[in-house]
């Protein structure tokens, strides 16, 4: 019996999905706040300092692996759930149904996959380079020498194609969040006659802020730097 439960356990998977999703959302907040620093000066001093802190602080470094794990679990479970869902309806309808309730919910796997591809490219562009010392160092007037990740961003965002790809990916991430945020609460059983409406509103607000925040950076750099 317990074996069976492990094999199926739809609700368990959903709960894990939700928890991971919310955790990843919190990561997005941190990530965004650091990224935004790049806009505040011309020599990326603030950003590079912050990045340096993140790359060297042992606590953050440990947490990084938790984050990585969360990504992997979220993605794998997402794919498993989706495959099960497809298998649950081998013959589809001629007239496609539509749900009036939540538009983005129908495209979680699609938005998720695009975000996943984005993530791989993003990894190659920044994370791998930073990890394996492929980033030039910079010494600031105050004597601090750090990896110049900031310039990497600025350079990338001078490329119009990359900016377009980035913006589209972030938009889809926003769609993903719009449904995912409130959905996580539902999966965790947190439904309330009054507050659920607020959670949904908060989810929309969150996804809009995250999307606009991330999109602002390439737009500003491409057009104004």
């Amino acid at each position: 019996m317990s074996n069976l439960r492990l094999k199926y356990a739809s609700i368990t998977k959903k709960i894990i999905m939700g928890v991971m999703g919310l955790f990843l959302s919190s990561f997005l907040v941190v990530h965004l706040s650091i990224n935004l620093l790049v806009l505040f000066d011309n020599d990326q001093y603030l950003f590079n300092q912050a990045a340096h802190f993140m790359a060297t602080n042992p606590l953050i470094q440990t947490f990084q692996w938790v984050l990585f794990l969360a990504f992997v679990v979220h993605i794998i479970l997402g794919i498993v759930l989706q495959i099960q869902n497809w298998l649950a309806r081998p013959i589809g309808y001629k007239v496609k149904g539509y749900s009036e309730q939540s538009f983005f919910s129908k495209y979680m796997i699609h938005t998720g996959m695009v975000v996943f591809i984005f993530l791989i490219i993003h990894f190659a562009n920044f994370f791998v380079k930073a990890k394996f010392g492929m980033v030039d160092e910079i010494t600031y007037p105050d004597g601090k020498t750090v990896d110049n990740l900031g310039i990497l961003i600025v350079n990338l965002f001078k490329d119009g194609y990359y900016v377009a790809f980035y913006v589209v990916s972030i938009l889809l991430l926003g769609f993903h969040l719009e449904h995912g945020f409130q959905s996580a609460f539902q999966s965790l059983g947190l439904h309330h006659p009054v507050y659920t409406r607020w959670i949904k509103a908060l989810g929309t607000l969150f996804s809009v802020v995250i999307t606009l925040g991330f999109i602002t950076i390439p737009i500003v750099i491409y057009f104004f730097r």
Binding site: N85, Y93, G97
Partner: protein, 250 residues
């Protein structure tokens, strides 16, 4: 009114099906959808053709037998309405109406628009009951139940087991059906006793039968003829979480 119907025809579970087009003429706008199907069938029988098989019984919207996917929606365009309570005044003269059976792996087609929903019975048999035998129970008023809770339990218990939630869900998930039963009993002291076991057994059976996972799209709630709330799904998730992780022995 005159209508064109595109109806899924399938001789039996083994053969492949296809859509067949029929014309019906002079339908009264006061007729119900199933009465329109009756007229079509009378026509087919008279012409020596096999009539369209469909499940139906009470025609009062309570037995849950009728199950047609009409123009992309389970039970058709009206909110909170079963197919049998759908009336032709909702359509216009000259409309083309596509009628399909419920589609889900655990609901195989038996014939035409008739599907096998015994998977729902299997789920109930796995735990959708209170384990009391006949006789030897306490007086009905021995345990007061807050009206608020009794009303919520009634809201959940109103489920007619038609399967529209599964038919509407893009994942063919049965969460609304299962959660309605889990909620009804979890809310009442009589059902509370074995709530932990119930939710686990019913969910395990639901998964085993091959229903999809809930992705919280809430299409089920929109399609439910009894307007069962997705709050029940959240309650089931909560019950499940409590049973598996937080307080298994409560």
């Amino acid at each position: 009114m005159d209508l064109t119907l595109k109806v899924w025809r399938q001789a039996n579970a083994k053969e492949n099906g296809r859509f067949v087009e029929y014309k019906v003429k002079g339908i009264s706008s006061d007729a119900s959808f199933l009465e329109m199907m009756d007229i079509l069938n009378e026509q087919l029988v008279t012409e020596g053709q096999d009539p369209v098989a469909f499940d139906h019984d009470c025609r009062e919207g309570i037995c849950g037998a009728c199950s047609m996917y009409i123009n992309g929606r389970p039970h058709g365009p009206d909110k909170g309405t079963t197919t049998c309570q759908l009336h032709m005044r909702r359509f216009k003269d000259g409309d083309t109406i596509t009628v399909e059976p419920w589609r889900a792996k655990p609901f195989p087609v038996i014939k035409d628009l008739v599907v096998d929903r015994s998977a729902f019975d299997d789920i109930i048999q796995a735990g959708g009951f209170v384990s009391v035998s006949t006789g030897g129970v306490p007086d009905a008023n021995a345990i007061p139940i807050p009206k608020r809770k009794a009303d919520l339990a009634m809201d959940a218990a109103a489920c007619i087991g038609c399967g529209a939630c599964v038919a509407a869900c893009k994942n063919a998930s049965a969460m609304l059906f299962v959660s309605a039963k889990v909620s009804q009993f979890a809310l009442l002291p009589q059902g509370r006793v074995e709530a932990r076991e119930r939710v686990q057994n019913m969910v395990a059976k639901m998964d085993e039968l091959g229903f999809g996972n809930c992705t919280n799209t809430y299409a089920c709630e929109a399609a439910c003829p009894k307007e069962i709330s997705v709050a029940n799904i959240a309650r089931m998730n909560r019950e499940y979480l409590a049973a598996r992780v937080i307080a298994p022995n409560d």
